[in-house]
Structure formats: C-alpha cells, structure tokens
Amino acid sequence: EDASSQAKDTPKETAQGEPPAAAETPADKNDASNGEFKTEGLKIAYTCQDLTNTYFVEVSRGVQARCDELGIDVNIVDGKADVANQITAFENFISQKLDGIIISPIDETALVPSVKAAQDAGIPVISGNQLVEGSDAFITVPEYEYGFAIGEEAGKWIKEKLDGKAKVAIFDYPELESVIDRGNGIQEGILSQAPDADIVARQSANNAEKGMANMENILQANPDVEVLACVNDAGALGAYEAVMAAHKDSDRFFIGGLDATDEALNKIKEGGIYRATVDIQPFESGKLFVDTLIKVMQEGPIEETINIPMKVVNASNISDYK
C-alpha cells in the first residue's frame, strides 16, 4: 500500500512543479541500497513496446537515466510492436543471465511463459503499463481511464462551450490491443459529459501524417466537426495542422490528445484550439520502473498494482509546465 500510494504521489507533485517530491521515492530506495544492497554492476533489461512511440522513448530515457545514476548496466530492447520480438528478447536475456527485467508488454498473455522462464532462471520480472500474469510487480496506467480522462475533458468542453451538442471525431488505434480500451474510454468519456454529442467519425490514427490526412478527409465529409479527441498527441497534432490549414480554427474548436508531449504542451500554451492533453509523466515513470525493480530485488514481489498517476493538462494549469 505504501509503495503504491507513494508512487502515485511522486510524479503528480513534480507535475505541479515541486522538485523535492520527485526525489522522494528514489531517495528512500537509495538509502536502502546504500545500506545492504549494491546496485552498481547490476545488469538489467527493459523491453518496451515500441521505440518509435514518443511515450516509450521518454520512458526508456527515464529508465536509462535512473540506471546511470545507480551505476546499473541496462539493456533497452525495442519490441517494435511485435510480441515475438519481446519473446526473443527474453530468450536472449535468460542466456545473458541478467539480474532483473522490466517489461512493457505488447501482449499480456503471450509473455506469461517467457516471464515464468525468466523467474525460473532466478531473474525477477516486473511489468510496466500492462500486466503480465505472474510478474513480481505491476506499474500501470489504466488505459480505459486514460482515454476516459481526455474524453471527459472534451465532453466538458462540449457541455460548457457548445451547449452540449457537437459533431465529434475520435482517432483511435485498434491495431494495438492495449489502445483499444483507450479508444473506448475516449468515447465513453465524451458521452458521460455530453450525451447528445454526435460522434461522426472514428478512425485510426497514431501518427501525425495519418492524423492529418484523416482530419482533412473528415472535414470534407463533415465540415462542422468541432471536437476531436485522439489516442495520442502525435495524431492530434497532425489533425491540428489540418484544421489550421483549413482555417476551421475557432473559439468553439477543441482538440485533445494524450501523453503530454512537449509539442502538445507548447500548443496548449499558445492558447489555440489544441486545448488539452493528459500527462502520465513517462520520464518519471521510467525512473519509477527501475526503482520498483530494485525494491523487488531486495524485498520480493509486490502484490498491489502501482498506478501511475495522470493529470489533465489544459489552459488552467499549463503554466505549471516550463
């Protein structure tokens, strides 16, 4: 319970611009390691879903940064959105006899045997983002809630500024299982606040080009679309360019994304139609992954799910970001 609530607090507080809090959890761990546990010379690995995804790039950087601080040798392996790559990676990790593994699994069930094999070989494994059954700890962003958060934000906008009625577009990404829930969350989130919203398009877009082309086409079919919520900032930013180019930007238009990338935060700061994103602090999450793994190495498995906190960023709190 302790660990999870601490972890929950940590990034949030940083987000609000209180640096000491960020160091809090790691500091605890450091104390422990200084006492009885030496992190120097440890060899661990992190295999993430997809290093072409900004979120995971940031998480990996967090992992790398924390490991550098602690003198840990870390091997970061890109799963390239194909679970077979992660299985292969596990085989390699086991023959390398690593000390610990962090995994952000592409598919939960597929990796169960791999995780078990690693544990059988004496290597602790913790899951980040999605849970692999049997892992020694689990740190996650609840996908549905994540999508729901931006959906809710969009729904509020519709309720307050558009009298509860608007034509809405959603960009989801059903090619990736974990993101399917997120897409559903977006839709439910919108409808929870604005039940009369008319969802006229739901298309797949997880990158800027796709987001742009989709938005251009949607604007042709439905010139009166005023709200877009997207599964990530990259797609939303592409759509942003399309809307700007079509001169459809107005006080009524709302674009919202997820992940709080720098680019998105800048757009929100500019005060244009890019209204909101949700911050899950990937860099800090990466650090948290490493700290949790070290804790597991020392103290054994952690039963409780550790939630990565999330925070909606919009015009009201954008000033908290540098």
């Binding site: 072409t52 900004t54 790039v57 398009a201 739901r202 298309q203 797949s204 082309a213 989709n214 086409n217």
Partner: protein
C-alpha cells in the same frame, strides 16, 4: 525476360482500364458521400497524394530502368528530420531544404554505385539503405519529433496559390519535369533503353553508368523533396515519417502501367495510379469505413484494377 509483346491497341486499353476504375470510384463516392465531389475535396485528395506523387516521379524512372528503390520511405524520414533539425538549429529554411535535397541526391547516387558498379540487386541494396537511413533518422532525432520552425516554412506543405495547394503545384512541376526528361530528352530515351536491354544499350555506346546514377540520384532527390513537403505539411519532424510509404508509391507506379521488368510505362499514367489510390482512401474515410475494412477494400480494388487491365490486354491480343 519473357516480355510479352503487347501491341499498340492493348497499350491504349491498358491506360484505359485504370482510368475506368478511377472513374467508377469517383462516381461511386460522389453518389454515396456528401461533399466528395467538391472542388475543395478534389484539391484535398490531390494534396494528400502530392507527397507520394513527388517521390513517384523518381520511382517511375528507377523502375523503367528495371530497378527499384525500397528506401524512398526512409529517405523521406531522413530528409524530414534533417531539414527539421537544421532549421531548429537556426539555419535558413531555403538553405536547409537545399542541403537536404543534396543529401538525397548523394544517397541516391550511392544507390547508383551499388547497383551499377558493384552489381547488387536493387531491391536488396535499397533495402539495406532503408534500414540504415531509418536508424540514422532515429539517432538524429532521438526518437522524438523535432519542431518549431521559422514562420513561413509551412507554406510548402500547407500554403495555397490561388485555390491550388502548394504541394499540388510542386507535384505537378515534378511530373512535368519528369515527363519532359523521359519523353523529350536523350537521357530519358536511355532510361527506357537501359531498362529494355542493358547490354544492347552499352553496346550502342550509351554510358549506362551515367543513366543508372542519374535515375537513382533523381529518385533520392525527389524522395528528399517529398520528405520536405511532408515535414512542412505536418509541421513537425517525425522520425517515423514516410515509413512504409515506398509500398504505396510503388503500387501507384505499377498501377500506372509501369512494368517492373523495365523499359515500359508512361509517367502520365502514374498520376492516374496515384489518384486512384488517393481517391480510394479519401472516399473510404469520408464514408467512415473502419480501418480494418479499408485494408480489405484497398487490396481488392488494387487486384481488380490490375486484373481488369491484364484481362483486357489478353483479349486485345487475341483479336
């Protein structure tokens, strides 16, 4: 090898088949989808097609020599991220674009060297550079998008001259130049000749090396150009930019009747191939067809279009 002799009649028919497919699609979407047949949407489609279109000009030349360039997608990525990085570091956009075009030319010329001097199969040589260039793109960008460009840079991808989007104008210029080179200059003649019979071209005193270097160089440069347009269009240097675009580009070129055996095909028809693909995607999104089904439909349309083409050729040959 095994080139089948196709007479003049079937050639006309061949252009015709894809055109008919395009017209059928146009009619279908205008009936089913509101706002499809508006001027803005037509320009919309053309703008979406422009990025691939620019690269398709170079690809057409390469394929006419009997080669292929799988690396164009990665080339677009590298060009996009390099240009973005240069501008963010303070370089003037014009200079940055020129530098990136030169880079494309250089890499393309290297392909020419691999293919001609070392004699590598074009597919494999460019597959290797595809991997290298994408890696370099990620390394340069650190996997993160690069953004914050000088005012006015977005004109290339988002601007208009009159009602016509700038990327469309760039694409049309590229096509006109490409057409002129292929149809009206001796270099173009040699491009067809080398694709038709390389050894005979050599024995006719043609500098085959120059031709091969030329087409791959041009292809690289045009891919870089299309990367720049893409960059300006999305206004952010994405490390993933252009990924797997090569397939769409090759498809459009082949749909346009350019034979992968080399020596055959007219660049004018490539535009029809491009538009076919563009209209299909645009129409399906406007109809709000789910992504999964879009793939299926896309595959079938592709299959039908080329099958019809081939079958009508066969019928024409039988006459």
């Amino acid at each position: 090898m095994n080139k089948k002799g196709n007479g003049g009649v079937s050639k006309v028919l061949s252009q015709f088949a894809i055109l008919i497919a395009l017209i059928i699609l146009l009619i279908f979407f205008s009936v089913t989808t509101d706002g499809f047949l508006s001027t803005t949407n037509i320009f919309n489609i053309m703008r979406q097609v422009a990025v691939n279109g620019i690269a398709a000009v170079g690809m057409t030349m390469v394929i006419v020599t009997g080669g292929i360039d799988i690396s164009v997608g990665s080339m677009m990525g590298v060009a996009s991220v390099c240009c973005a990085t240069l501008m963010v570091r303070g370089m003037h956009p014009v200079l940055a674009v020129l530098l990136v075009l030169l880079l494309g030319l250089a890499i393309g010329t290297a392909h020419g060297c691999f293919v001609y001097d070392i004699g590598l199969p074009p597919m494999i040589a460019t597959l290797a550079t595809m991997s290298i260039l994408r890696g370099v793109t990620y390394i340069i960008s650190g996997g993160l998008p690069v953004y914050g460009f000088p005012e006015g840079f977005n004109v290339i991808g988002q601007g208009y001259i009159g009602p016509v989007p700038v990327p469309v104008i760039i694409m049309v210029i590229c096509f006109v130049i490409g057409w002129f080179i292929l149809e009206r200059t001796s270099f173009g003649r040699y491009v067809y000749g080398v694709g038709s019979n390389r050894e005979a071209s050599r024995l006719s005193g043609v500098n085959v090396r120059k031709v091969i270097y030329g087409v791959y160089g041009l292809c690289g440069m045009l891919a870089a150009m299309s990367g720049v347009v893409l960059l300006s269009r999305v206004n952010s240097g994405q490390p993933k930019a252009g990924e797997s675009y090569e397939m769409d580009i090759i498809t459009a070129v082949v749909l346009g009747g350019v034979s992968t055996n080399g020596g055959e095909g007219r660049i004018g028809n490539v535009i029809i191939g491009l538009l076919l693909m563009g209209v299909l995607l645009n129409g399906m999104v406007m109809m709000n067809i789910p992504d999964y089904y879009q793939r299926v439909v896309k595959g079938f349309v592709l299959l039908l279009a080329i099958s019809y083409d081939k079958l009508s050729q066969k019928r024409a040959n039988k006459k």
